[in-house]
Amino acid sequence: MALLLKGARCVDPLLGLDGVRDILVRDGRIVEIGEAGTVTLPKGQTIDLSGKVLVPGLVDMHVHLREPGQEYKEDIASGGRAAARGGFTTVLAMPNTLPICDRGSAVTFVLDRAREVTRTRVSVAGSLTRGLMGEALAEMGDMAHAGAIAFTDDGRGVQDASMMRRAMDYARTFDVPVLSHCQDETLSRGGVVNEGLVSTRLGLTGWPAAAEEIQIARDIVLSELTSCALHLQHVSTAAGVELVRAAKAKGLSVSCEVTPHHLFLSEDDLDESYDTKLKMNPPLRTRDDCALLIEALRDGTVDCIASDHAPHAAHEKALEFELAPFGTTGLETSLALVLTHLVRPGILDWTDLVRLMAHNPRRILGLPEVSLKAHAIADLTVIDPVCEWTVGEDGFESKSANSAFVGQTLTGRATHVFVGGFASLEDGKVVA
């Protein structure tokens, strides 16, 4: 069956495209794209998208789907729905499930299950070390053969430098990137908020910026030593971004992501209410860090925006701040936050958004390119740029509601998502 997407403003920086177009989709691919009114549909469905913005399908390369093992927080089906609701066609699942995704069979389980229960494309990152223990190599070859497209010990970070070196050396065999969660535990131990004004005021143990920056620096040096492609996850500090900038200037194969919560929230949002929804790893940093992260998005030092979607059950977050788990959900708010705080005020334009949330993550992960041209895979996201909505007012597709942004009014949201030509989101409703 064919599908005609009419009258959307189509944006794709790979093609230098920004204009109203009609797009004809058949058999999972774009077959024709042309000026408004020039594309005709012999037989099939037409969707009028005037006033909307259509972009290559968005990718969130940092999500925790919790299956297997913690299905009470999230599962692949609910995570897939949350991705569709947030405008994503593709997500990269982190390996810290129960059991840990550290062997081929575990990768196969997630990929098979995803094909069964969700239209969202789920890619898998396997662990770097066995059991995320940081002590021995995980079976990366087995996992790569099963379809893992990246390796990471996300959530902990490899503490031993020689272990990290071996992991990067070994991963290079499979031509996939190593994603690094940077946290020197000897410096961050016990830390629950950024070390600084707020840790002092609230009497909470600080997680200093240095604990992150030291490992960023270490891993950049190891990337040069091993020639392994390195992607730094959730960079949260200005000095961390500086290190990435220097590595790129040197021509190293280094990329990085930032999260919406590190862009749009700071330690100043923590007050005497000790709201555990704001407990993050790495912690919310200073306002100056936020400003410099945004600057680094503009100048290309930061390659992409990823949400670190971290669902937790209500009873887990309803604990004393020092006991509650780290993390916020992000799939359903990430795009809208970027639209509200960066695109609408003109800090980023639509081509930046496509670069940061679609093209760059695909490039880093070696996923097939998705572009708005004939023959391309029809992975598409359609955005209503003006609709206003309040986070949490209609609940979430995610099983968990621990969004740090609950109650905020945002402008802009995905209305349609097509994965291989099939809708996973239609008029704001998740389908299948």
């Binding site: 070390e195 004393e320 006991l323």
Partner: protein, 313 residues
């Protein structure tokens, strides 16, 4: 109805300067009562005060207990395990359980910062923070302020040194900003390994060499060195700590002639204070303990609506 500007006392910043002076003035009246043979007043008769101590404490709990009894309140001690992870009942469930029993005031001590705030969201009672993690210990600050004011006649312009484990001290977290709000100067003195990231956030200046500045202060407030911190090795040995920061006979002699020593107790004799420094008349430790009862009586009385019965003469 509270006669203070806040329903609860969670942090010292809940109190205006007028509130603080109101508590200190009321405490002065209660202190006179405490010196009588018959110390009991009917003021809070029929009111229920729960001591919810989820972290071991003898001194503070006893002080609150005596304060409640002297005001004729029904005081109940509720001890439970400190964390949901070990006991199975979350703090929120504990709060709702106590709320269902209609208590009027809860004093909470908890090893995690922010726990008193959680209670306020799930209970109708007034909440007093009896110490939460490394965050705040406001009634300690109030009794310290009372002690300084009674001794010097004023708080404004006092030059106060707070010496010791500043980084892990809820006493510092409460006392330093309150002193600054009332016009005193505060200097935190400790090796940098025992200072928080930003002492300036609490209004304090910092110094690391006690001997260079010891003669400047009206009050030298010595914090307790907690033995369990030693494992983190913030300093090489207790011996060296005592050598660099302990008050001994020689430092006592170099203090301002009218300067006093204070300490929240219990003291590690031979560490932060030598025996001479514990036993000198310039050490107001026991005066602080005594004032603590009167100050806690005043706070309970004012939070639970001081106008109700008036002060019995």
């Amino acid at each position: 109805m509270s006669t203070l500007s806040s329903k609860h006392l969670l942090t010292m910043s809940d109190l205006s300067c007028e509130d603080i002076y109101s508590i200190l003035n009321t405490a002065r009246t209660f202190k006179v009562v405490n010196d009588r043979a018959i110390k009991k007043l009917p003021t809070l008769r029929g009111r229920t005060v729960v001591n919810l101590f989820l972290e071991p404490s003898t001194r503070t709990r006893t002080s609150f207990e005596i304060a409640a009894k002297r005001l004729s309140a029904d005081g109940i001690n509720f001890a439970a395990s400190a964390s949901a992870t070990t006991k199975g009942e979350s703090l929120i469930d504990t709060a709702q359980t106590l709320d269902a029993m209609d208590c009027d005031l809860v004093v909470i001590r908890h090893r995690y910062a922010g726990a008193p705030h959680t209670l306020t969201q799930h209970m109708r009672a007034h909440i007093i923070n009896g110490g939460d993690g490394k965050h705040q210990h406001p009634t300690q600050a109030l009794l310290d302020l009372f002690t300084m004011r009674e001794h010097f006649g004023h708080i404004q312009n006092l030059n106060v040194a707070i010496v010791g484990d500043i980084a892990h001290s809820r006493v510092f977290g409460s006392l330093a900003p309150a002193l600054v709000a009332l016009g005193a100067q505060v200097t935190a003195i400790a090796p940098p390994t025992l200072l928080p990231a930003r002492p300036d956030a609490l209004g304090a200046q910092i110094a690391s060499r006690l001997d260079e500045v010891i003669a400047d202060f009206d009050v030298i407030y010595m914090l307790r060195i907690q033995q369990e911190r030693i494992e983190e090795s913030p300093f090489p040995s207790l011996r060296e700590y005592a050598m660099l920061y302990g008050i001994n006979a020689s430092r006592l002699a170099r203090m301002k002639p009218d300067a006093i020593i204070m300490h929240p107790g219990p003291v590690n004799r031979g560490v932060e204070l030598s025996s001479e420094a514990v036993d000198t008349a310039r050490n107001l430790l026991l005066y602080q303990v005594n004032a603590g009862v009167a100050v806690r009586m005043a706070l309970m009385y004012l939070l639970l609506g001081g106008e109700q019965d008036g002060l019995a003469a």
